[in-house]
């Protein structure tokens, strides 16, 4: 399943997630529930910065999950397997369920297929050639 389809399904089934975006390890948007690419990038950037801020709180490692619950809503970001999924919710969302839904969505997205390389196979010399 591609990222956009998985995110559409997430929003349909979750009931708590309002907007969501998936980005790759380089920060490029793989899929989003947003029609506006700039909005999708803004959500992705905010999630990336939140993970970076979270990482600064721990001396030895980076953050893999950030859940920020505010009176005006929530921001959730989850990093797994080189990809990051970020979502916003309405106020009072159940954090555990949102994280479960995000993880499930991320698992449904197909891993990028490795590029097939053509390898030139050298044919063995025929027996008659040696003479």
């Amino acid at each position: 399943m591609n990222a956009s389809s998985a995110l559409e399904e997430l929003v349909k089934l979750s009931g708590q997630v309002e907007r969501a975006v998936v980005v790759d390890a380089n920060g490029a948007v793989l899929g989003s529930t947003e029609d506006d690419a700039a909005e999708a990038q803004r959500l992705a950037d905010a999630a990336g910065r939140a993970l970076a801020v979270g990482g600064e709180l721990h001396a030895s490692t980076e953050a893999v999950r950030v859940e920020i619950e505010l009176a005006e809503g929530g921001l959730f970001a989850l990093r797994e397997g080189g990809r990051t999924i970020a979502a916003t919710t309405a106020p009072g969302a159940t954090a555990g369920l949102v994280v479960y839904d995000l993880r499930t969505c991320l698992e449904r997205i197909d891993a990028p297929k490795p590029r097939r390389r053509r390898v030139k196979v050298q044919e063995p010399p025929e027996e008659g050639d040696e003479a």
């Binding site: 803004r42 905010a46 979270g54 980076e62 970020a86 916003t88």
Partner: protein, 63 residues
């Protein structure tokens, strides 16, 4: 004296009602950060780092 007691009781009741109403309406604001080793920290309003995380969340929520 009775007037004073009545006044104190009324004030206490008003404070309790105000705190109850505000507490019910406003959901708890907090941030949870988890790390690959399985550890996690929970930040509440006023703790270091919370406001920076809250600012990022607000920028994502504000359309």
């Amino acid at each position: 004296m009775r007037r004073l007691i009545r006044l104190v009781l009324l004030a206490a009741l008003a404070v309790w009602a105000w705190r109850y109403a505000v507490g019910v309406r406003r959901p708890a604001e907090r941030a949870t950060v988890a790390f690959p080793d399985g550890s996690a920290i929970v930040l509440e309003r006023g703790s270091p780092g919370f406001e920076r995380l809250a600012a990022e969340a607000r920028s994502a929520l504000g359309r």
